[in-house]
């Protein structure tokens, strides 16, 4: 029982928006589609919803093709990035709209709308207009309208991106329980935030330049990204990627950065590679092969991200705790050789070797 898309393709003005996208989205599971802006995530949702025509490909639900049905016959609910509600209707009527359209009995509509409004925490807001509530509440209304239908397919296009930081955190926490009522629906959630995708998804689809780069369980994608692009997308800050090679003396990274080759890498053919290391696995150190100046320090939640430019290469570090490091500060950076990812040194950058998986849930 699932939604299957096959070989979806869409080219507009010579730009490929979707280039042969195939994936399976099981019912009762939440799939996060992650990718950079313009990776084709929104286009994919619009194609599934029937709001965007395609050049080729197949869509089917539980074995029944629906690619030729117009949007209004597809039973697809969607939540947009912008807080889209019907401005002329009250919160209650906004949520009731799709049910009234289905001509459900008045009492049934009342019951379901009340139920879903209290689920999203808006039980007392039914009479307000969307313009009279906050952005976070408006997005909850949009969510309620999508949930109330118990549609076959529920699509969410970066629903949290325009919300305040704390509100995003709160809604992210609530999402799992909100979607638990949709046990028969296919739920697809677009995001650019790896933490968000990891936290809420049963399955992650990584999109890059209109194609699917990887599909898998969150922990698997995080531990073993199949390519440089996926490694960058699934980490925040993006994984550090340094060009280099393996030779007789070990590893050579960036501009002359020497590291001993750990056993896992010593057996690899001696040639050029691209090496990746997570920002969180780099640490400041006094005696370090890489020394550089901090160009920018950035606070993100409870972590501090340091951008360090050194003669032998530039890296980004993520450190626990909040502090300010003035630009120009010189620091050494320890690079744990056994934590390096090794990728092919070509356009695709396929994964050759990943470090041992660590913990996770």
């Amino acid at each position: 029982m699932s939604l299957v898309v096959q070989e979806l393709s869409l080219v507009r003005n010579g730009v490929p928006h979707l280039g042969g996208v195939s994936a399976t989205f099981p019912r009762g599971q939440l799939t996060a589609v992650i990718g950079r802006t313009l990776a084709g995530k929104t286009t994919l949702l619009r194609v599934i919803a029937g709001l965007q025509a395609i050049d080729g490909g197949m869509l089917d639900l539980d074995g029944r093709p629906f690619g030729r049905l117009p949007a209004w016959k597809r039973d697809v609910a969607m939540v947009y990035q912008q807080f889209i509600n019907y401005p002329h209707l009250s919160v209650f009527e906004n949520v009731a709209f799709p049910l009234r359209k289905k001509r459900l009995a008045r009492t049934e509509v009342e019951r379901r709308v009340r139920e879903v409004l209290s689920t999203v925490g808006l039980a007392d807001f039914g009479k307000r207009r969307p313009s009279a509530i906050s952005g976070g509440q408006q997005q909850r209304v949009a969510l309620a309208r999508a949930l109330v239908r118990e549609a076959n397919i529920l699509l969410l296009d970066e629903p949290l991106v325009n919300l305040d930081y704390k509100l995003r955190e709160q809604l992210r926490d609530e999402f799992r329980s909100l979607f638990s009522t949709q046990e028969h629906s296919v739920v697809i959630f677009n995001t650019t935030d790896p933490a968000e995708a990891m936290m809420i998804a049963d399955q992650i689809v990584v999109m890059h330049e209109g194609r699917i780069a990887q599909i898998g369980k969150p922990a698997d994608v995080f531990e073993a990204p199949v390519s440089v692009a996926v490694a960058e997308i699934i980490n925040d800050p993006p994984m550090n990627i340094l060009a280099g090679r393996i030779d007789g003396d070990g590893l050579l990274l960036g501009e002359g950065l020497r590291l001993p080759a750990p056993p896992r890498l010593a057996t690899l053919p001696r040639r050029a590679y691209r090496f990746g290391v997570r920002a969180g696995e780099l640490a400041p150190a006094d005696e370090a092969p890489l020394v550089g100046a901090v160009t920018f320090s950035e606070v993100s939640g409870s972590e501090t991200t340091l951008h360090v430019a050194g003669e032998k290469g530039s890296v980004v570090l993520q450190l626990e705790g909040v502090f300010v490091m003035p630009p120009g500060t010189r620091i050494g950076v320890a690079i744990p050789a056994d934590r390096l990812f090794v990728f092919e040194d070509d356009g695709e950058g396929r994964l050759i070797s990943a470090p041992a998986a660590i913990g996770g849930s």
């Binding site: 950079r36 802006t37 906050s134 991106v161 305040d164 930081y165 704390k166 955190e169 926490d173 650019t192 790896p194 933490a195 990891m198 936290m199 969150p218 922990a219 995080f222 699934i234 980490n235 925040d236 997570r278 969180g280 160009t295 920018f296 320090s297 950035e298 606070v299 993100s300 939640g301 409870s302 951008h307 993520q318 626990e320 705790g321 909040v322 502090f323 300010v324 630009p327 660590i358 913990g359 996770g360 849930s361």
Partner: protein, 354 residues
Amino acid sequence: MARIHLEQVGHSYGGGTYALEKADLVFEEGLTYALLGPSGCGKTTMLNIISGLVRPSDGRVLVGGTDMTDVPTVRRNIAQVFQFPVVYRSKTVFENLAFPLRCRGWNTTRLRPRVEEIAELLGMSKRLGQSARNLTADEKQLVSLGRGLVREDVAALLMDEPLTVIDPQMKSDLRRRIKQANARTRHTVVYVTHDQNEAMTFADEVLVMRAGRVVQRGGAQELFENPRDTYVGTFIGSPGMNFMAAERIGGRIGFAGVALLPATAANEVPDAADLRIGIRPEHLAFSNDGEQGIPASVNFVQDQGSFLIVDLTVASQTIKVKVRREVRIPSGPARLSFPAERLRLYADGALLTP
């Protein structure tokens, strides 16, 4: 550039409750300040008082020692960057940046080096000849900022949520460019935002505002480690600080029957006060020693990638712990250790200093 002093400034719109409560505030010359708070907290009112769009109902606005309370915006010599980029679409990037200088009668030979310097700071050197019409939203916002930076003599540069309309993916890059440009020009900057990360990344000092009051002012680290009240503790950091209902145990303070802190500070507050122990999720750790720590049970674990957020119940209170991915999380019963130096004590929501 000048020191800005809001002397007992307060404001109420139409004589009702105060949108901004009376207080003394100083913005030192050459530093970057962030006004941080949710909408309606008074941060925009304060910005408008500095720029002169709002005349405060109480107090005086002193700029470099001169009383400017009744001086209109145009004569205050203040540059402002708004939420929405303001560019002259018909002009080139160069002419956009040059405009404030041309208005003051500078000729091209005189202004060219300054405009080129600012364009370089913003990483827009290659765009100078281009028409502003075709710039992306983030580039337009950079140009708006550049127009503020180009005048060396402005008393202050005010920024009102300048990253609101910028694509989330571009924000980090734009943040970096703005911060680097500010670091070089050393204007006095007042930056309004509701985004904690932005405030703490940008500012030398953050003023956390709530309901018309500045509840805490300090550097990013100070706000994170010593939140003055439970609101700041929850607002700063992700996830926010844990606050556990505390009890007096003998002469000490603790919870779940375990004494954690000396009661020195707590002795000065009434017995009826609501006492809470605050600790950040990242400062809690699982105790491997079977005897040490407070017993807890794991409810669920959220996998964020590099970090795991563990939701636990300790003595019927919910606590979040944030650990690195490599940490092994016990399933079911666990023991948590509370490092004493990381604990903060709050009475009726306010931090008690030991």
